[in-house]
């Protein structure tokens, strides 16, 4: 059974159709990348898959369960976590506290009014593990708002990981990250491959063709091609519509 199945999803903002009859699957352990130009509707698609935005029509199932009407927190508890293209953190909390809260959401009750949460070593230990996996553990004690942009991107990933998801929706995790930092991030995603099912929205073609098992191309809200990276790269429709039929496509 496919882990994530999207069937005939549609979403319009007024006259603007942003998701146009989108269907796709993500298999267990697969890394499925979605590429497409700015404004193609990638973020809007993630918003619908994560429960932040309701589609106009269509169906989303996770492990065979219909989650089309489930709220974002419900989906997270079912193992579907996301990261945001525009960083969403708790700015006044420490990095550790940000992630410990994500751990707390799945460990025990949050209707505990007395114990001092700072001393809950189980929460902090699990949070440190997620921070280490995302490569930001050295900054655990820093106030989140004081991190650099690249560190924010890693904190985004750590928070998603801390919910112990089966499936990750990653919306341009590399946005605005360059050079060495970007390479390290790609290596980190590579290390996560197989252990998580991932839907990766990404602009960086090198990263996409290095990481993805399958690639879907989204243009004006429509998926115009899906397949192995090499097939998609060779697809004439993709070349004209998106890749610009030039030689700049990475080999």
């Amino acid at each position: 059974m496919s882990r994530l199945v999207v069937e005939n999803l549609n979403k319009s903002f007024g006259a603007l159709t942003v998701t146009d009859d989108v269907s796709l699957t993500v298999e267990p352990g697969e890394l499925h990348a979605i590429i497409g130009p700015n404004g193609a509707g990638k973020t809007t698609l993630v918003a619908q898959l994560s429960g932040q935005l309701a589609p106009d029509s269509g169906r989303v199932t996770l492990d065979g369960r219909d989650i089309t009407r489930a709220s974002m927190p419900e989906r997270v508890r079912m193992g579907l976590a996301r990261s945001f293209q525009i960083t969403q953190i708790l700015p006044g909390f420490t990095v550790l506290e940000n992630v410990a809260l994500a751990v707390q959401a799945r460990q025990g009750s949050s209707f505990r009014f007395f114990g001092d949460v700072v001393r809950e070593t189980a929460l902090n230990d699990a949070a440190m593990a997620a921070l280490a996996e995302a490569g930001i553990d050295e900054r655990a004690a820093a106030i989140a708002s004081e991190l650099s942009h690249g560190e924010h991107r890693r904190l985004e990933l750590a928070m998603a990981l801390a919910t112990k998801p089966s499936t990750l929706l990653l919306d341009e995790p590399l946005a605005g990250v360059g050079g060495e930092e970007s390479d390290a991030f790609v290596a980190r995603l590579m290390a996560m491959k197989g252990r998580f099912t991932m839907l990766l929205i990404e602009h960086d073609m090198d990263a996409v063709f290095a990481l993805a098992d399958r690639v879907s191309v989204l243009v004006y809200g429509r998926i115009i091609a899906t397949g192995a990276p090499d097939e998609v790269r060779a697809d004439p429709a993709v070349r004209t519509a998106y890749l610009g039929d030039e030689e700049e496509i990475p080999a």
Binding site: Q88, A102, Q104
Partner: protein, 328 residues
């Protein structure tokens, strides 16, 4: 990986100052009655009790306003529930303060649950307006209670009793009883804020979308905090009724709700001790400016404007600035 700093700054110690400031305030409160005795001005002790009761209410409001970013403009309703619980039960011969408090809490819990559940469907200025509207509904309900004087209010024939004793008729006893309750509720609030629940509540204040994306439904936590805050505020009402030996809908007018917000903002939101200090400052200013001029509200308003402009984090922020200046 290149920009990782290993010398991560340690977290600013948020906890210690909050408790330290509260301990200073509590010590001053405890020393106040002997000073009053020395000055031989027994009326002062009544002012003191009033300040302590409002400090309870302001602290309770801070729990949702400061930690939950829920600006309730109808919190005076809970003061009213506390005062009327005393008046109504005592008119039926039930004078025990514990029973009266229990009734106040029960009524407040129901009202806060129902109105909170509706109000929390809205955000920002709409939340402020809808809590105001519910507060006004409570206000007009008690105005229509002609058996308890309606608009004119209702004088208490006696104060509440404690374990059958009329000890609270003594001004000093009532003062210290209010202080003990204030300290107890501060300790409780302090624990709540530092608990798992408190961290979730504060997280929702920081970024509700992020909290949903890690698996929290903000509504249930906000509503719980709203109910806790309303119940706590009603306890302040119980002591206010005893202090004034009189209850009236004036305790629950929207002006009063506004004054509670002013106390919290003046003292510095999201610190608990700031709300206590804010209640002290606001009521002392009211007493002394009120003696100097009948236009005291004008001067108080000016003071507030300056405070918000120059120290957005209130008295707490001002003290922190002074301390940092000294440390340098």
């Amino acid at each position: 990986m290149s920009v990782v700093s290993t010398s991560a700054p340690a977290r600013a110690p948020v906890l210690a100052p909050r408790v330290k400031a509260a301990l200073v305030l509590f010590t001053l409160f405890a020393l106040f009655p002997p000073v009053v005795t020395a000055l031989d001005d027994p009326f002062l002790i009544l002012i003191g009790t009033r300040i302590l009761a409002y400090a309870i209410a302001a602290m309770a409001l801070d729990l949702i306003l400061g930690y939950g970013a829920m600006v309730s403009f109808g919190h005076a309703a809970y003061l009213g529930f506390g005062t009327y619980a005393v008046a109504i039960l005592s008119s039926y011969g039930i004078h025990d303060i514990l029973l009266q408090t229990a009734a106040a809490i029960a009524l407040s819990a129901v009202f806060a649950f129902v109105t909170g559940a509706i109000s929390l469907r809205t955000r920002g200025v709409y939340f402020i307006m809808i809590t105001l509207a519910f507060g006004q509904m409570a206000f007009f309900f008690f105005i229509s209670l002609s058996a308890y004087g309606g608009d004119d209010g209702y004088g208490l024939r006696q104060r509440s009793t404690l374990f059958g004793s009329d000890v609270l008729e003594n001004e000093y006893a009532l003062y210290y009883a209010t202080l003990v309750v204030l300290i107890g509720l501060f300790a409780l609030s302090h624990r709540i804020v530092g608990s798992r629940f408190g961290r979730v509540l504060t997280g929702i204040r920081e970024n509700a979308t992020r909290m949903e994306a890690i698996g929290y439904s903000p509504f249930r936590y906000q509503l719980t905090a709203f109910v806790i805050s309303g119940c706590m505020t009603s306890i302040a009402g119980v002591f206010l009724a005893n202090q004034a030996e009189f209850v009236s809908p004036a305790f629950m007018s929207w002006h009063r709700s506004g004054e509670l917000i002013v106390m919290v903002v003046l003292g510095g939101i999201g610190t608990l001790s700031g709300a206590i200090g804010g209640a002290v400052a606001a009521l002392l200013l009211e007493e002394f400016l009120g003696k100097l001029t009948e236009h005291w509200r004008l001067w108080f308003g000016l003071f507030l404007v300056l405070m918000v402009l120059f120290s957005p984090r209130g008295i707490t922020g001002l003290i922190q600035q002074i301390q940092q200046g000294r440390a340098r």
